[in-house]
């Protein structure tokens, strides 16, 4: 098959370019894209990409495969290859450090803004803050986010305003803490989000939902934040 990989080494290249590599998959197996990258690296050791757990848990190997963001380690070739060709690019909208390795600083800055930790101003109990099973269930579909940035970098609103729009991943996490029965900073959290950019730049096109490798729904979480803002203000 033919693999076209985005290559850029700022120390030696003036501009990024696409490198076409023909490769035979051993035994014609339906391997993961990450395994394919390993095969490519055996051919050309200068190829750079991030990976760690290789099982969709760490969120390191988010990249754009034939136009769709996803985790290379849990994306089989059969799911993305079209006409025996695969185009691999870095996540869109973030500065490229090298090849498919991107600088995630802007993504983390937005994540930091939503204060991704429990805030509780009541005295700590002796053992732990308890939740009922129903309260705990509110966090399902929110806590599973691994911050791979596939959703946020698939969002045009983030592409145009990466410094102002929190992005789907950050907003999913914002709702994760707004929905937590143990968190008492709901009012302060909502006040920080009530501007024309942070939440409201989302136009609900649901690119985030279609690419999330964990099957989460940031658009739904954003809708719930809007409802909370509306309830607080009316």
């Amino acid at each position: 098959m033919l693999v076209s990989v985005y290559r850029y080494n700022p120390e030696t290249d003036d501009a990024p370019y696409m490198q076409d590599i023909h490769i035979d998959i051993p035994g014609g197996k339906d391997i993961m894209v990450l395994d394919l990258l390993h095969l490519l690296k055996e051919k050309d050791t200068s190829l750079g990409y991030r990976r760690s757990c290789r099982e969709g848990v760490c969120g390191s190997d988010g990249m754009n495969m034939n136009g769709k963001n996803g985790l290379a380690c849990i994306t089989p070739l059969s799911a993305v290859v079209v006409d025996d060709k695969l185009v691999i690019r870095p996540l869109p909208g973030l500065p490229v450090i090298r090849d498919v390795v991107v600088d995630m600083s802007q993504f983390y800055k937005q994540y930091e803004k939503i204060k991704p930790f429990l805030i509780n101003d009541t005295p700590a109990p002796t053992m732990e803050r308890l939740q009922s099973p129903a309260e705990r269930a509110e966090l399902d579909g929110l806590y599973e986010c691994i911050l791979c940035a596939c959703c946020t970098t698939a969002c045009p609103s983030f592409w145009w305003n990466p410094d102002k729009f929190i992005g789907p991943s950050g907003l999913l996490q914002a709702y994760r803490f707004l929905a937590d029965s143990r968190d008492t900073a709901t009012h302060e959290r909502l006040s920080e989000l009530d501007d024309p950019f942070s939440v409201f730049r989302c136009h609900g096109i649901m690119n985030c939902v279609s690419v999330c490798p964990k099957g989460l729904n940031p658009t739904k979480a954003i809708g719930k934040i809007r409802n909370m803002l509306l309830q607080q203000a009316t």
Partner: protein, 115 residues
């Protein structure tokens, strides 16, 4: 929090709500107009004139006109903040949009009350 002094209500929630409410008004006006034209396919000038001479129709039309102005401003403000990054140019384009919207509103009122 991101601050912005050029947005309609300076609050994301307020702009969002205004855009939703005005959308409902515009939908109601569009449905009414389409319905009226369908049920009066043989309409003449006098009937069209008498429709707009009615105070309730003037109120409804003015409401739709103001809704369109607010809706368009919020929408165009979003588009300009997305695509026009140089502040000076964006301010000029936004001012142009604002001026044009104001002209359309005044012109619309003038037309409406000249019937």
């Amino acid at each position: 929090m991101v601050t912005s002094i050029t947005s309609f209500g300076r609050s994301g929630l307020y702009d969002w709500m205004v855009q939703r409410v005005t959308a409902v008004v515009l939908l109601a006006y569009t449905i009414f107009m389409i319905g009226y034209l369908l049920f009066n396919s043989d309409m003449d000038y006098m009937q069209w004139k008498s429709l707009f001479e009615c105070t309730s129709m003037r109120i409804f039309t003015l409401l739709a006109l103001l809704s369109m102005a607010a809706h368009a401003w919020i929408g165009l403000w979003s588009v300009t903040t997305d695509y026009i990054k140089p502040t000076g140019l964006r301010f000029v384009v936004q001012s142009g949009c604002g001026l044009l919207t104001f002209i359309y509103v005044v012109w619309g009122i003038q037309i409406l009350w000249s019937v």
